[in-house]
Symmetry: C2
Subunit: 339 residues, 2 copies
DNA sequence: GTGAAAGCGCTAACAT
DNA sequence: ATGTTAGCGCTTTCAC
């Protein structure tokens, strides 16, 4: 660190800049903000003084004066190490940055209480909008906020007991397509490995899949339904167990990226692997030849940011829901016939 | 949105809470902050009033009064959609949250000017510390800040013309191991596909690899060196081109996760693929059987956050450098013999 | 145990 | 074109 002791203590304020430039506080403010009605020579003198002192605007003071609302947008989500969340976050950040807004992120660790604390912390910081990929189930505590002008947008899961904008994936539709895709390839004994059924997206995916089976008059899937599978290891074990059944399922549908990873691990090295379709696309799925229910995660973030943006700009009106469509990306694993 | 028009406009302030509770401003402040010297009954009355009004502390005002420094730590990095950056960000956030700090993230789009703008924006917001995974090469503009008490930590790439804490990967060591690993399997014609050579981590990886080759007296790699390969598509093309040479290389070393992805795409479906080692571990590398130079990205974030934390707590002293070690994770692709 | 006054650094409103 | 005054919402003296 350079030893610049003299200035180490405190940052210079606008008052000091003004004093050095020999002008009033307000003139200094005008000059640095490039407002009109400042003589060019005065402006230059002020800016020189600012540079000399190493002055930097105090955004906190500005924001307080301008109405105590920041240029920050909060995102509370699951762990960014999960590519689903990070892809969404990336889409959000990119959109916000276009509008001069910054993104604060916090991980709820899939804990409803922590989620609530983080939301409170963001609100204290006077975020302009709050984006939530919820973990908790009750969001009524947010209802006062919505009415106080902090817009919320929910992603991936609709808010509970609260009307608010949200961006969802067509979970039921995507899962139904997956089911139909496997049926069309001739499968009947189709296993579904799902995460916690209490989570809305999982519910939708389960329902969609079941709908496809019912419509085809197929009930051979029923012994192979597994829910409450929440991590990769558990998914791997579950798929191994499914494949050791007699008769074994000839196809597997996994309802999110973690579970698909587990299934791929379980199936590694199998001479005659079952067919597989996973919900959520992922890196290298093309190399692995894994058929997936794909959807645009980055667009999801972008749309959510856009909704927030519009509310920030004063848009009123009823809560809106945007549904991100899905499509089957066939890469081989979902097209394997029953053996 | 619930139609709660009356309160939609403005948030209640502490003054209003105090008025409703029939106490002075200061007493209200004490009560809500749970400071000593407040009669229990008074405290309860104030808190009731706060609940009734839907009061929420204005963190901006508090921060201004307390010294204009926020509870925010900034991270400027590449796109969070890249698992390397998101893993690091996740490690940082987790560590900061333990200490009541929040993470603001912004993507520099690998553009030095944008990076500088984002850094400025963060500093205006009075972040407590600034973490940078640099894209630009000149960081001298930050030197005034360092001396003004905003700690910086650089990740992955050392700062240029500036002494600051940083957390680096043992790039040269990891790449050298990769080279030795391939040599030990009997390879001589080893291709290296590298990213922009001007970036320090790439330089280190290139140097480490070359050192391994020199030490073994092997120069058969030289025709197969490719640098300035910056994205997946380019990597895929480059590897295809390498494999069509006569004689073709029998092994490939890719110097980051993007390039490894490209190589895997290029090698997809090959009956006799060359050996492959990639720098950076990745999801599903186990399923694909890809040997990698692994390192703990989450630990990298954690260490960086820790360094920042210590500086925030007043630690002074010379700039420190932490080096994250690497290790070869053998999964098959790097152990294939030359054909 | 409680309150009055001052002020953090800036910008808005109103002079001049 | 420039300056003066007030005040954002809170915490910090210092007094009672």
């Amino acid at each position: 660190m350079p030893a610049d002791d003299a200035s180490a203590a405190r940052r210079p304020t606008l008052t000091e800049v003004a004093a050095l430039a020999g002008v009033s506080l307000k003139t200094a403010s005008r000059a640095l903000n490039r407002e009109p009605n400042v003589a060019p020579s005065t402006g230059a003198r002020v800016r020189d003084a600012a540079d000399l002192l190493g002055y930097r605007l105090n955004g906190i003071a500005r924001e307080l004066r301008r109405g105590a609302t920041s240029a920050l947008v909060g995102l509370v989500s699951g762990d960014l190490a999960n590519p689903f969340y990070s892809a969404v976050a990336s889409g959000i950040e990119r959109e916000l940055r276009q509008h001069g807004l910054l993104l604060i992120t916090a991980n709820n660790d899939e804990d409803a209480d922590l989620e609530r604390n983080l939301v409170e912390a963001f609100l204290e910081r006077r975020v302009r909008a709050l984006l939530v990929i919820p973990s908790g189930n009750d969001h009524e505590y947010l209802s006062v906020e919505g009415s106080r002008g902090v817009p919320f947008v929910f992603l991936d899961r609709p808010p509970d007991r609260l009307a608010a904008d949200c961006v969802l994936i067509d979970n039921a539709g995507g899962a139904q397509s997956a089911g139909e895709h496997l049926l069309a390839a001739g499968h009947r004994r189709i296993a579904m490995v799902a995460d916690l059924a209490r989570m809305a997206p999982q519910r939708g995916r389960i329902d969609g899949f079941v709908r496809a089976m019912r419509a085809a008059g197929n009930d051979a899937w029923e012994p192979y339904l597994r829910t409450e599978v929440h991590d990769v290891r558990h998914a791997e074990r579950t798929v191994k167990e499914l494949l050791s059944l007699e008769p074994a399922p000839t196809a597997i549908f996994t309802t999110n990226n973690r579970l698909t990873t587990g299934a791929l691990r379980a199936m590694r090295g199998l001479a005659e692997p079952p067919a597989l379709i996973g919900f959520d696309d992922f890196d290298l799925a093309d190399v692995l030849g894994t058929t997936v229910v794909a959807h645009d995660m980055s667009a999801m973030g972008r749309e959510a940011a856009r909704l927030a943006q519009e509310r920030i700009n004063g848009h009123t009106g009823p809560a809106r829901t945007i549904v991100i469509s899905t499509s089957i990306t066939a890469r081989g694993s979902g097209e394997r016939p029953p053996r």
